[in-house]
């Protein structure tokens, strides 16, 4: 093949190039085909058509172009390949194909399959059987089979979220070959060491192959996340990958349980190192939501770090000795703890002051921390329970106080305490209040800046003991411990030697207190993880695929056995994923925190070894490029022929114009349509709403009784015109509202005449009215039955009103007292007649009516406006007038002044609705003016 690395798949076709001169000759002879047109008046045309010199053959460059196209097509058909792969398959025995399909093979699995396919097709050509084994599959049947069967098996295989088990695969191959020496051993590897990898390969090569091909990945090595830990201000991530030359930085993304991106970070690998670290900086609150951490590029099962509940926000239970007194929250022992921890933890409070009830209840809710502020002795049963909980990993945080100081033999303290408290800087003390000392080295508070303004006036003291210093997390300047802690089982007891409120020190009101509590909370464990107890066997909940996707658990995963105390290593039986249930689960990750990826050491094969990298490598199939070039040449040729044939001139008539118009119109339409589509935020009915808001409207309820509704409309019309004439209020047209559907909040007053003929409004409508009244609207109920009422029997509309009111939340009512604002809101009134004269008007009883009945104030404060008014006087009929201003209904008795008073009553009601108790203040004006000296 000389110097040019070019191979042809079908070299025979190259003989087609011989035909080029013939093509050239034909092309030269063929002029461009003319456009054929039928034309009847040919005789006339013949007279004017001079014999014209049409070129008998096309120009030479056009011919050259066409020859080039023909040559390109011939070359493309001969399937040239640049940098072809050598074919070196030994035909002396079966092809043994071993493929790593562990987690690391997921990113370039397709390339691996392609490489294996090439090998299998070579085996088919050479007619040798193929024995195929996948190192991560649990079972391998490596029996030599025909190439087509092997291909089927290859295509059915998929990468597994597990480590390769090379030893088992090689054993399977050994068993399948049964002594037959293989021809070629091809191993498509991920290049990472496994426990028995080198030993297994040694056994494989010992089979005596004619030659060995090792095919490794060409792309970057995949990354495995090995550990995450929650630091004080960032999430620390540890990772491992195959060591490479240069240092590299790998972006990672933290996602929440729904897969949303919530934070990003980077992992840095030094050159030549197989371990890297990185961090994701995010606020503590956000870090609580993290459910998994993904490597951005080339995601694999190991590139995902699943995070379970133990990583989450802690649940903190708060118990204090005294009943919470809402009147003085700043003196409540839990107030500062509550404020300090609520951003970082879920707080639960004791429901009962009775410790015997509250402690079991709180433990049942499985808090990570229980904070007890100044609790002396515990009931014995509960103390045992609490101790058990601490043994299981709970963290008990206690604050001192008078009760603790007085308690005898309290076992739930980290150090033995002296009875009584020590007072510093008091009247009987020589000592000044003590500031904090620097935190000791091993203390969790180490690193926090020590505040100099925090002083301690009073504390409980620990009995000196040998391990007191070791148990001290913080101490005062004089060396007495301020915070002590002791481990109990898996849990811990932390004692603050001061109170949780500011009585003994100003620590709780300093910002430092928040930092200290946060550290304590971060140190705590989440108790009661999935399953409740630690010796549970957890079913698979969601499992990782090799590509790092979390999928519902499949059949062949076994439950995770936690009884050994330690989380078992992920393997074929326990693929990485989440185990447990939706409520609580344990995350099982592929890599443990101490594992590192090492390169696979391939032993000496004892046979010629060729190494290749995945993919076609440099082999480049020129066929598509050549075809593309030929197509391009054909396009150019077509354009040239079109131009020579006069197509452009032909097109330049009206078709081009039409096409241009269409294109421009479409473009313009797009431009115009786009902003129009954005501005679609108006809703149907907006215009109505704006109309109603523009002007004050009175409203009446459409009862469904046409007669009543007509009177309501006419009545409110009459009142509106009266209001417009006499007052500053010019109401708009009265509006009939359907209380089932219409928006009610636009109207200050809704007039609701009762009618027995009308259908009863639905529950939903009544509750809408209720909401309207609660939100500040008022309803004027009118039973219109004063005339029927005189007999004493309850009339129909009243019964209807009772039915409606039974669904409403109605305050106590009273007839309008003589000093109510309603009597003074515009006119001075003492009666509220309608069509009938003497029915009372009921309003919400003023709260202070009893107490202040005797007060000499001329008007009651009447805070707020009565949300309900009830009359039986048939206001609307008295107000009703037609378009010409004629009164429609006579009053009973027929007295013109009664109608006038009815209007005045309406005006007062409306003014009362709109101005509230403003008028009741106005009555003070004389006194105020007098006081001002006028």
């Amino acid at each position: 093949m000389g110097g040019l690395p070019l191979a042809f798949g079908a070299p025979a076709i190259l003989f087609g190039l011989v035909a080029l001169p013939v093509i050239w000759w034909l092309l030269r002879l063929t002029p461009p085909r003319p456009q054929a047109e039928p034309f009847a008046p040919l005789a006339i045309l013949a007279r004017v058509l001079k014999p014209e010199e049409t070129p008998s053959h096309s120009p030479w460059w056009l011919t050259a172009l066409r020859l080039l196209v023909a040559a390109l097509i011939i070359l493309a058909l001969s399937e040239p390949i640049l940098n072809p792969r050598d074919k070196t398959l030994s035909a002396s025995g079966p092809l043994v194909l071993m493929i790593d399909n562990g987690w690391a093979s997921a990113p370039d699995w397709d390339d691996r399959v392609a490489a294996a396919e090439d090998l299998i097709s070579e085996a088919r050509d050479a007619d040798v059987p193929v024995s195929i084994a996948f190192t991560s599959d649990r079972r391998n049947d490596a029996t030599p089979m025909s190439a087509s069967n092997a291909l089927e098996q290859l295509l059915a295989a998929a990468p597994r979220p597990a480590r390769p088990e090379r030893g088992a695969s090689v054993t399977a191959v050994q068993a399948a070959l049964a002594g037959t020496p293989p021809g070629t051993i091809a191993y498509i590897t991920d290049g990472m060491a496994s426990d028995d990898g080198t030993e297994a390969l040694g056994r494989l090569f010992a089979l005596g192959a004619a030659d060995v091909q090792i095919i490794g990945s060409a792309t970057g090595a995949p990354v495995a996340l090995t550990d995450t830990s929650n630091g004080s201000d960032a999430l620390q991530i540890a990772a491992t990958r195959l060591a490479t030359e240069g240092s590299i930085s790998i972006p990672v993304t933290a996602r929440d349980s729904r897969g949303r991106d919530i934070a990003r970070g980077e992992i840095a690998f030094e050159g030549g190192s197989n371990a890297g670290t990185g961090e994701i900086t995010a606020p503590f609150e956000i870090r609580n939501d993290i459910a998994r951490i993904d490597v951005d590029a080339g995601l694999t099962a190991a590139g995902v770090r699943l995070v379970d509940d133990s990583f989450r926000r802690r649940r903190v239970a708060l118990i204090s000795g005294e009943a919470a007194d809402l009147a003085q929250p700043l003196l409540s022992p839990l107030y500062y703890i509550d404020k300090a921890l609520s951003p970082y933890a879920d707080l639960i409070h004791a429901q009962s002051a009775d410790l015997a009830k509250s402690i079991p209840a709180l433990i049942e809710r499985q808090p990570a921390i229980i904070v007890m502020a100044d609790i002396g002795s515990l009931p014995e049963q509960e103390a045992v329970e609490l101790e058990q909980w601490i043994e299981n990993g709970g963290t008990l945080v206690r604050f001192a106080g008078p009760r603790l100081a007085a308690a005898d033999n309290d076992t739930l303290t980290p150090v033995t305490l002296r009875r009584g408290e020590r007072e510093l800087g008091g009247a009987l003390s020589w000592d000044a209040p003590q500031p904090l000392a620097d935190y000791p080295e091993g203390s969790p508070f180490a690193g926090l800046p020590v505040p100099r303004d925090v002083t301690v006036n009073r504390q409980v003291l620990a009995e000196p003991s040998a391990d007191l210093a070791a148990r001290t997390w913080a101490s005062l300047a004089d060396g007495t411990p301020l915070v002590t802690a002791a481990d109990r089982g898996d849990g811990r007891i932390v004692l603050f030697h001061v109170t949780a409120e500011a009585g003994w020190s100003n620590l709780p009101i300093s910002g430092h207190f928040v930092d200290m509590l946060r550290r304590v909370v971060q140190l705590s464990n989440n108790v009661g993880r999935a399953g409740g107890s630690s010796n549970a066997v957890l079913p698979p909940y969601q499992l990782l695929s090799a590509a790092g996707a979390l999928l519902p658990a499949s059949g062949d995963a076994k439950p995770l056995d936690l009884s050994a105390g330690r989380t078992p290593r992920a393997g074929p039986d326990n693929p990485p994923g989440l185990y447990g249930t939706e409520d609580g689960y344990v995350a099982l990750n592929l890599f443990q925190s101490d594992e590192r990826i090492e390169p696979l050491d391939i032993p000496d094969a004892g046979a010629p070894v060729s190494r290749a990298s995945l993919g076609r490598g440099d082999a480049l199939d020129l066929k598509p490029w050549l075809f593309g070039a030929a197509l391009l040449g054909l396009l150019i040729d077509t354009l040239i022929v079109l131009v020579m044939g006069g197509a452009l001139r032909r097109l330049s008539r009206r078709r081009v114009t039409a096409a241009t118009v269409i294109v421009f119109a479409a473009g313009f339409a797009l431009l115009v349509a786009a902003p129009g589509a954005i501005a679609q935020d108006s809703q149907p009915g907006d215009v109505d709403i704006v109309d109603k808001l523009d002007q004050t409207h009175m409203a009446y309820v459409i009862t469904g009784d046409d007669e009543v509704d007509r009177i309501s409309r006419e009545g409110l019309n009459g009142l509106s015109s009266y209001l417009a004439n006499r007052t500053a209020l010019e109401p708009g047209e009265p509006v009939g509202v359907d209380i089932e559907t219409d928006q009610l909040s636009f109207y200050p007053l809704i007039y609701w005449p009762m009618s027995e003929q009308a259908p009863m409004p639905s529950e939903a409508a009544i509750s809408r009215i209720d909401a309207y009244m609660k939100n500040g609207g008022s309803v004027l109920f009118d039973t219109r039955d004063r005339i029927d009422d005189l007999g004493g029997a309850t009339a129909g509309p009243t019964r209807r009103l009772q039915a409606i009111l039974s669904g409403l939340d109605i305050p106590p009512l009273e007839p309008v007292p003589s000093d109510h604002v309603l009597t003074k809101a515009f006119y001075l009134l003492d009666v509220f007649p309608g069509r009938y004269a003497d029915g009372p008007l009921w309003v919400e009883a003023t709260a202070a009516s009893q107490e202040e009945a005797t007060a000499e104030r001329p008007a009651r404060a009447g805070d707020g406006v009565s949300s309900i008014l009830i009359t039986s006087n048939d206001f609307a009929a008295a107000w009703a007038e037609d378009e010409n201003g004629n009164r429609l209904y006579p009053t009973v008795p027929n007295d013109p002044w009664q109608r006038e008073y009815a209007y005045r009553a309406g005006v007062n009601i409306m003014m009362y609705m709109l101005t509230g108790n403003y008028k009741s203040d106005q009555v003070h004006i004389p006194a105020l003016l007098e006081r001002l000296g006028q």
């Binding site: 461009p32 054929a36 039928p38 009847a40 040919l42 005789a43 006339i44 014209e52 006069g646 032909r650």
Partner: protein, 304 residues
């Protein structure tokens, strides 16, 4: 790149059966269209306007001694002392010979035209036939149908056309009577001498004639460009123009000159000449032709 013009109905000449079937399917359409067009023009067409033999009432006139007493209209005469005779309107028929050229050159339609020339010619012919038959004229077609006077003459002409061929060049007008009218509808693209030969003897006998030239707008305007091969649909002769747009001007001039010469020659014989392009509506030509047939007094004697 589609060609501008195309041959409509390109049937082989020998395929008579298919041709006839296609003609039959084409004709009812044309006839329907002819009826519609005729309806738009019929208003204002008022019979002979003179007394004579006929069926419809024309006038009462005083009885003149010597007339047959049976002609007296007694009902009218009983109303006063005079005797009246009922006159009827003269309804004598005139013979009009219609002929349309349906040779292959007529089967042509360009993109600029509404219909093919043949379709347009048939529409015009049948529309005139409809108009004339409605007013009681006798209609014939030389070589196809003897003159008939019938209300359904247009249908009968259509049926006759579907069985006959009008491809044989200009018609034989030797049998056409002296006082008849002849309407020739064609593209007149045959050699000019044949037209002369047809018209001249008839015109000498006093036959009044109307020539309607149907042309396609593409034939008049010559909108071709680029390398174009022109083919005569009748003879199959071909001409290749290297750049058709260069000869467009010359062609248009020649076309106009030929038309002027032809129309002059026809008018000189006392015939009327009407040029009609297929991009115009058929009713335009129909109205003009209608005017020529009814209004323009050329030879006289029809109206006394």
């Amino acid at each position: 790149m589609a060609s501008i013009g195309r041959l409509i109905d390109p049937t082989p000449r020998l395929d008579v059966l298919a041709r006839a079937r296609m003609r039959a399917s084409l004709l009812p359409d044309c006839l329907a269209e002819a009826r519609r067009v005729a309806n738009t023009v019929i208003a204002g067409w008022h019979g002979r306007r003179k007394r004579g033999i006929g069926e419809t009432f024309w006038q009462f006139r005083p009885y003149v001694d010597g007339e047959a007493q049976s002609r007296i209209d007694w009902r009218r005469s009983a109303r006063d002392d005079h005797l009246y005779v009922r006159d009827r309107e003269w309804e004598a028929a005139h013979t009009v010979w219609l002929w349309a050229d349906l040779s292959p050159s007529m089967h042509y339609q360009s993109d600029l035209a509404i219909a093919s020339k043949e379709s347009r010619a048939l529409v015009l012919m049948l529309a005139i036939a409809e108009l004339l038959s409605r007013s009681g004229e006798r209609i014939g077609c030389p070589g196809v149908m003897e003159p008939v006077s019938s209300r359904s003459a247009a249908e009968r002409l259509a049926v006759a056309l579907s069985h006959a061929s009008l491809e044989g060049g200009m018609p034989d007008l030797t049998h056409v009577g002296r006082m008849s009218d002849v309407v020739l509808i064609s593209d007149f693209l045959d050699e000019e001498a044949s037209l002369e030969r047809t018209i001249a003897p008839a015109a000498q006998r006093g036959v009044r004639g109307h020539a309607v030239e149907i042309h396609d707008p593409a034939e008049e305007r010559f909108p071709y460009s680029g390398r174009t091969e022109f083919r005569d649909p009748e003879t199959g002769q071909k001409l290749v123009a290297g750049r058709a747009e260069t000869i467009a001007e010359d062609y248009r001039r020649a076309w106009q000159a030929r038309r002027v010469a032809m129309s002059e020659a026809i008018r000189r014989k006392g015939w009327s000449f009407l040029a009609h392009g297929t991009d115009r509506l058929a009713s335009e030509a129909l109205a003009t032709l209608h005017g020529h047939l009814s209004g323009l007094p050329t030879t006289g004697g029809e109206r006394s």
